[in-house]
Amino acid sequence: MSDILLDIRDLSIIYATDDGVTEALNGACLQLRKGESLGLVGETGAGKTTLARGIMRLIPNPPGKIVSGQVFYDGRDIMELSEKEMRALRGRQISMIFQDPMTSLNPVMTVGEQIREVIITHHPNLSKAESRKQAEEMLEMVGIVASRYDDYPHQFSGGMKQRVVIAIALACNPQLLIADEPTTALDVTIQAQVLEMIHGLKVKNNTAMLLITHDLGVVAQNCDTVAIIYAGEIVEYGTLQQVYKNILHPYTEGLFGSVPRLETNSKRLAAIDGMMPDPTALPKGCKFAERCKYATDRCRAELPDMYELEDGHKVRCFRYEKEAQ
């Protein structure tokens, strides 16, 4: 299919430190069509950010290393590109919004200049006046008056800084936007504004988005497909409808159980027992077996495959082995 923008195949990333090898990402497979939004949900340390950095090829090396896998962007394998080709891609084709707007802006450069920076990096022939005009337009687009072009990041509030970060990310009309927990550092009202804005801009430019979050509500509002990641593995993957209406994986079940619901009057939320396994010593079988109430001996000994149900809903659990066939 030609409308597939991003095709991640079997991507594995490790961090080799003195304390041992951390298997941060184990054979992740994801696909993203043009203009589509994919929500990547998982808890802290599940490998969400590692996946995002892997796509940008920004894994700090050492200690990080991409062990295997391919990432096809628009038909080209990103892993095969030279560093120069990769630089041309970053910011122009694939942009990233970082989690913390407080630290992701350069404190000694005006916000306008930082937006202009990405524009001139990818359009070196633009005159100063033209690039400045474009940068001002970007500022206006994210709802900041252009007269604040010459202000420094510390003169902005957190929400406004995140808008600037978004303006930088979208300044060159990228095809793919990777938003790594874009609203985690913001309070709830600002979260809503920022998400709405990202969504609006995304629709306008037909940008595909990989939204990384641990907030299921945010995913429900913004995404078309959802992938649940646990201990470096995608455990459930399907459209928003499939995953939210027909929860398959026990981990996903646990995740949804820990979200308060309006319609039921439960006093306590169901938490998932136990902790995520130590990524330097992952269990041999299913990574979730330790905490799973359905776990069998087979789960502990053998790693389940990604089983695809008839409607395309995928899950990594032996309970659906028969159903999938």
Binding site: M56, A88, G91, S104, V165
Partner: protein, 296 residues
């Protein structure tokens, strides 16, 4: 803040200047230094225009009858052991301290800064090799190192510059490396990489400006040190040779007459001290002014 966001065109430097102006002691230092620069330039101009005639008549001409005479109306700072006017000699000496110190510091800032940035940014082997070499240089006291270099190369103006320049390289390399290290792991550097910046852009647009404040402070303090070193080398007889009116050399010559005439030592000493003091005050003020996190 009574003036709100109407002032749109306000650069980092204008902002820093605004804050610097509020700092009175730093301003005093700056004014004194500007005065010194003016004097240095003016004396050079006078030399060129009068083809050293003024210099020969008033600065080096001896008057042995009036040797070691105290301050008077005609000679406000008194006269030295050869009856030369100390005020004139002080004025003509400014250029050596200021310009030579400046050149030496710029030299070591460029070399040391580049080495430090390389070591800090690329790390690993480059870092280890460069920094261990700097450690070796640093292990030798800078004055001793400069003395040794001058002794090896011979006493001349250029050799003094080279000696002091080399002696200050390790301090700059260390300062720059340290600031680069603190800046390079911050998220905005990764953000810069994620918009497609290359190493050069990241170093010069993101890391260096953020690491600037300690470097500028180090440079002003280093300039003070370099001026002292030049004076020190001249005092030891290894720097600028008499009859050139260099402050350190003047001080050295005056040593012998210290008991008979206080002014011959105090005046050059005060000159050196005030210059160093104003540089230090200015360095302090600059550090405060250049830190954008300390705005308003």
């Amino acid at each position: 803040m009574e003036k709100t966001k109407t002032n749109t065109q306000r650069s980092l430097w204008q902002d820093a200047w605004r804050r610097f102006r509020k700092n009175r002691t730093a301003m005093a230092g700056l004014i004194f230094l500007c005065l010194l620069v003016l004097i240095a330039v003016a004396t050079v101009v006078i030399d060129v225009v009068t083809q050293k005639e003024f210099y020969n008549t008033y600065v080096t001409s001896q008057n042995l009858v009036e040797r070691l005479k105290g301050p008077s109306l005609e000679h406000p700072f008194g006269q030295d052991e050869y009856g030369r006017d100390i005020l004139m000699r002080m004025l003509w000496g400014v250029r050596y301290s200021l310009f030579m110190g400046g050149i030496a510091i710029i030299f070591s800032l460029i070399v040391g800064g580049a080495l430090g940035a390389l070591a800090g940014y690329y790390g690993k082997v480059i870092d280890t090799v460069l920094m261990r070499f700097m450690d070796i240089l640093l292990a030798i006291p800078s004055m001793l190192l400069a003395t040794a270099i001058v002794a090896a190369l011979g006493t001349s103006l250029v050799n003094v510059l080279i000696a002091i320049g080399i002696a200050y390289i390790p301090t700059f390399a260390r300062t720059v490396r340290a600031s680069v290290l603190t800046v390079k792991d911050q998220e905005f550097i990764e953000a810069a990489r994620s918009i497609g910046c290359n190493d050069r852009e990241i170093i010069f647009k993101y890391i260096v400006p953020n690491a600037m404040a300690p470097i500028i402070v180090q440079a002003t303090l280093g300039l003070a040190g370099a001026i002292l070193s030049i004076a020190g080398l001249s005092f030891l007889g290894l720097g600028i040779q008499p009859p050139t009116p260099e402050w350190g050399a003047m001080l050295s010559n005056a040593r012998n007459y210290f008991r008979d005439a206080w002014h011959v030592t105090v005046i050059p000493g005060l000159g050196i001290m005030l210059t160093i003091l104003s540089l230090n005050l200015m360095g302090d003020g600059l550090r405060d002014a250049l830190d954008p996190r300390m705005k308003n």
